[in-house]
Amino acid sequence: MGNIVLRLFGPLIVIILISCNAEEVDPASIGVVQEKLVVNGIIENLSDTLYFQLSSSEYAYNAEFPEKLDTADMEVKINGNLQPVNFDPFKEKFFATTQTKENDVVEITVKKERFQTIFAKTIIPSSPKNYEVKILEGQGLDSRNEQSDIVQISFIDPPEQKNYYGFKLLYLEQGTNVFRDVIFEKNDMVLLGSDLIEQNDKTFIFSDIGFNGENKVLQIVPESGQGNFNPDVKYLLFFYHLHPDYYRYLASLKSYNEDFGNNDFSPFRLSSGVFTNVSNGLGIWSSQYQSIDTLR
């Protein structure tokens, strides 16, 4: 019976399977695409050198890599003052030797043949008001119910706009000069929010949702074995106040990486691009205010 049915319906099944095939789209049908200039630079207040990379985009369906550029007609201005820019061939980056501070306006304009002129601007965020970091020695309990330090960060969030912050906490491993990431329980609201970005280097970035315009006290309780409640252990805390564009860039990059990685599972996904604040171009030109504190 099975054979008879197979003979009857087999050809039909084959027709259906063959007629529902995958094929490559002619890239030309996606339309003419203009290549763009790409600039990537994050400016920080504590650094005395401003680095950024310039490259060009490449048509997605070509087999070539995008080109990293070492020459271009460019202007970098800080508060309207033109800065001399050089190229570092080892880092494949441009740099300007200058110290920036909070509220500085940093602009870039790049002109190059074949490309549209690009422009980007950022204002270095201000230092958080009433910013204070301290250790509450042995006053915390970690997830194993063991006594631990509390690293407490407090500041006042400006009410007028949405603000973004980040921190990275390290401890100095005893008997070495190596700083290691502190693992801690995420029990604060900001570390549980959907807008939290955890970067590969264990920098945690969050928004002021839930404490907009208020005094924020963020307590971090290191886990057991992370040098907790040991008076000899030093902590190193990096705290950032991010420009909103930088946050948007990181958030979109995270979404992009998750999205593209999921390609095999769902061809019906919504593809999301990476945020850019570069007019007529791609990439990110943004800034963050940075504080570094050694505790103990």
Binding site: L6, E23, V38, E58, S194, S255, Y256, N262, F268
Partner: protein
């Protein structure tokens, strides 16, 4: 002084609006049910006119009507398409309750006989409402000659099918989850069988179906874009009847008839199951097996207790199963393992209803219902062929939703000018947004350990909606339906009042032309987590509006003209403008990881949709069908998508032409043709690649939905051959799907080249082309 005048004017207006006493000459009330003479089934939408007085009413979904009539001799006309029009001379001495049976009109040689005169009657006060001709949809020449209600709905102007191959509906720019699909008054949460190729609605078990795209009565709520109200067959009161159908994909059995001899109780039972898996398995061999199947079971019981009381019990259950198993050998240990993958999803609905006529003015429909959708995905790994402590591990992921519902719908015929509908609806939702159970046990079935993660206890939310609506027949020309729906949404102890005013206005300009307009406010607190708005995949899940996820909402304004060109031909032109807030887009929902919080992937934004729909329909004669054209614009805007700029919705398909014709050449042969042509869905394709801040290669997608493939064209044809015997007739339906063999993309996406990692390529999956189908039906 001026304020006083304004108050007086307002008071006067209100008094005029409620001028019930001016119709005190109507001192008798007549109510009852209208049914089919042959089968005894309720007839929905029968027009009942009090001749010479201008009063008109229509039967509701139970065939119930209610009319105030004057003392003395009156003439009452019952009018329903393809049924013999009857006029009764009455003289009521007191309020009365009647049962009326209408005889079907037997058409001439080679004519179609469809119940509904028009898909959108000019007298209907609601703009954008379409009554679906079930008989036409049953003959639709769809894939493998299967009948499918949703595929028929996709042919209506203003309703897009979205991605080819799915049983989704995108109504007036809305998303797939914005349609309330009611099967005998109970929501159905997943329409898709066989990964969307077929819908869960077995059209043979359906008595009536209506779609509301624009104006919406107040009793409906919970979705932004449309309501599809499907009523199942009640059963034949006079004799047992049924049919048996078999095709390449499925076999169906329908049975209908009375229970007992008093014609008080009827049943309708239908079963559909795939037969393809029983006939042919392309992957089956000694070590591997693939099983794909689905079934549906619809059942309905009706019991007429007396003239004033009726009971209904209806049930629907359907399930899909996709199973893969494979035996492989570990070369290092020479151990055999059987790995299994089992995906099951399905709906279960049940409803108990009681109709009661309190007096000839008040009608109650009380219902207690339950609906459930559940999806299970199970992986198993079993050691086979060994007697030494063999191991078995399994991981089962589930998601779903369960609703417990109590509804009360009241109809109060205040006067013939004011019919008031009011009632309440309580829903207890229990969402399972994803949980996973892992188990490890030995062959003796002794568990070594069970671990459960995810949404273990479910998330419960509650809706208590109260509604009231006045159907105000101002005069012969003007009709106003105005009402209010207050939905009290309770979640995690928070109370959110959602107020939805509804206004529908109709003006009959002359015997052939009517103008209609509507304003709708709608809210939605249940959301489908899906990519690109493509619902229907078993891994998609329903989630509540909770915490930071706000309820979706919309305002819709509609205008329309209905023109009855002649007895058989009608033209409808509707325009609409819809503003949507808190609409949902889900970016990268990792459906396979239940430890992730689904809320992390939800983005909420705004949207708008506007356009025009035109439909010319012919419902009688040897050629029937319709021609539809839709011009539509649909946009979305999210703060964190597309750089915050507005972009066209994935299913923003500017022009759509839809033609369906049914040519009844004689009583034995009917030719079928369905053409869909227009703009394709949109896809987001990368344009450039570049280095990110970390030096990695990323794609620049440019604008969201920046790529629209060539226009979509699909032409399906077929014919039905009927033969008649004593007590039994037979139908052979043969169809050819996509007879033009056009390559319409089901999906377009980019992927990295396997060899050259820096290169990307754009790929598309096409729909099937030129697929023949056949079904054989025996009607008894």
């Amino acid at each position: 002084m001026k304020q006083l005048e304004i108050k007086k004017t307002l008071l006067l207006s209100i008094l005029l609006l409620f001028s019930f006493s001016s119709y005190s000459q109507y001192s008798r009330n007549l109510s009852g049910y209208v049914s089919d003479y042959r089968t005894g089934e309720a007839l929905i939408g029968v027009k009942i006119s009090l001749l010479s007085w201008g009063s008109v009413t229509y039967t509701n979904q139970f065939g119930y009507f209610n009319l105030s009539v004057p003392v003395g001799d009156i003439q009452l006309e019952f009018d329903y398409s393809n049924y013999k029009q009857v006029v009764y001379d009455l003289n009521l001495k007191k309020d009365s309750n009647v049962l009326v049976a209408l005889k079907e009109h037997v058409g001439g040689f080679g004519t179609n006989n469809f119940r509904r005169k028009s898909l959108n009657d000019i007298e209907s006060p609601i703009v954008g409402k379409t009554d679906l001709p079930i008989e036409l949809i049953e003959s639709f020449p769809y894939f493998l000659a299967e009948s499918d209600l949703i595929k028929g709905l996709q042919m209506i102007p203003g309703v897009n099918a979205g991605n080819e191959g799915f049983s989704n509906l995108y109504v007036r720019g809305g998303s797939a989850d914005q349609n309330l699909l009611l099967l005998d008054g109970v929501p159905v949460y997943n329409n898709n069988h066989f990964f969307g190729l077929f819908s869960v609605y077995n059209s043979e078990a359906v008595n009536d179906a209506q779609i509301y795209k624009g104006g919406m009565p107040s009793k409906f709520g919970g979705r932004l874009s449309s309501v599809i109200d499907i009523t199942m067959d009640e059963g034949n009161t006079n004799e047992m009847s049924g049919n048996l159908t078999t095709g390449l994909m499925s076999a169906r059995l329908l049975l209908s008839g009375p229970i007992g001899s008093q014609d008080k109780t009827t049943y309708n039972f239908s079963l559909r199951r795939t037969i393809l898996d029983r006939l042919f398995d392309p992957n089956r061999d000694d070590n591997s097996e693939t099983i794909t199947n689905f079934y549906d079971l619809n059942g309905k019981l009706k019991h007429r207790i007396d003239k004033k009381n009726q009971l209904f019990a209806s049930i629907y259950t359907g399930r899909d199963k996709y199973e893969l198993s494979d035996i492989s050998t570990d070369s290092a240990t020479n151990q055999n393992f059987r790995t299994g993958f089992l995906l099951k999803w399905g709906n279960l609905t049940g409803n108990l209803r009681w109709n009661h006529i309190f007096n000839s003015k008040i009608f109650l429909n009380l219902s207690v219902a339950y609906t459930q959708y559940q999806s299970n995905l199970t992986y198993t790994n079993e050691q086979v062929g060994t007697s030494r402590n063999p191991q078995f591990t399994s991981r089962e992921r589930t998601n779903g939703i369960r609703d417990f519902i109590i509804n009360s719908d009241w109809e109060y015929n205040l006067t013939n000018r004011h019919k008031v509908n009011f009632g309440s609806s309580f829903i207890r939702h229990n969402f399972n947004t994803g949980k996973e159970k892992s188990e490890n046990k030995n062959i003796n079935n002794t568990s070594n350990g069970i671990a459960e993660i995810g949404n273990i206890n479910g998330t419960k939310t509650y809706e208590l909606a109260l509604f009231a609506e006045d159907n105000f027949r101002i005069n012969k020309y003007h009709f106003l339906q105005w009402g209010l729906r207050l939905n009290n949404y309770i979640t995690k102890g928070n109370y959110v009042p959602l107020v939805s005013p509804r206004i529908n206005y109709r003006l009959i300009l002359n015997k052939k032309l009517a103008f209609k307009s509507a304003y709708n406010r709608t809210y939605q607190v249940t959301n489908l987590m899906t990519n690109r708005g493509t619902g229907g995949l078993a891994t998609n899940f329903w989630s509540p509006s909770i915490d930071e996820i706000k309820p979706q909402s919309a305002h819709q304004f509609s205008l329309g003209f209905a023109n009855k060109i002649n007895e058989n031909l009608q033209l409808n032109i509707d325009g609409y403008y819809k503003i949507m807030q808190n609409v949902i887009e889900v970016t990268n929902p990792n459906f396979f990881d239940v430890s992730e919080d689904w809320k992390n992937f939800v983005k909420q934004g705004s949207g708008n949709a506007y356009g025009m729909e035109m439909m010319i329909q012919k419902n009688q004669g040897w050629v029937t069908g319709w021609f539809g054209y839709t011009l539509s614009y649909t946009n979305r805007e999210y703060e964190t998508l597309n750089s915050g700029n507005s972009f066209p919705f994935s299913f923003d398909q500017r022009h759509m032409f839809k033609v369906y014709t049914n040519w009844k050449l004689d009583d034995y042969l009917t030719l079928l043709g369905a053409l869909t042509a227009g703009s394709s869905p949109r896809f987001t394709m990368p344009t450039n690649k570049y280095y990110d801040l970390n030096g990695n290669l990323v794609l620049d997608y440019g604008e969201v939905n920046n790529f629209q493939p060539n226009p979509y064209i699909r032409f399906d044809v077929g014919w039905i051959r009927t033969t008649y015997g004593v007590g039994v007739s037979q139908e052979m339906k043969i169809t050819f799907y996509n007879v033009l063999a056009t390559k319409n993309p089901m999906s377009v996406f980019a992927e990295q080249d396997d060899v050259q990692q820096q290169a990307f390529k754009a790929m598309k999956y096409n729909n099937p082309r030129f697929v023949p189908g056949i079904t054989y039906k025996m009607i008894f």
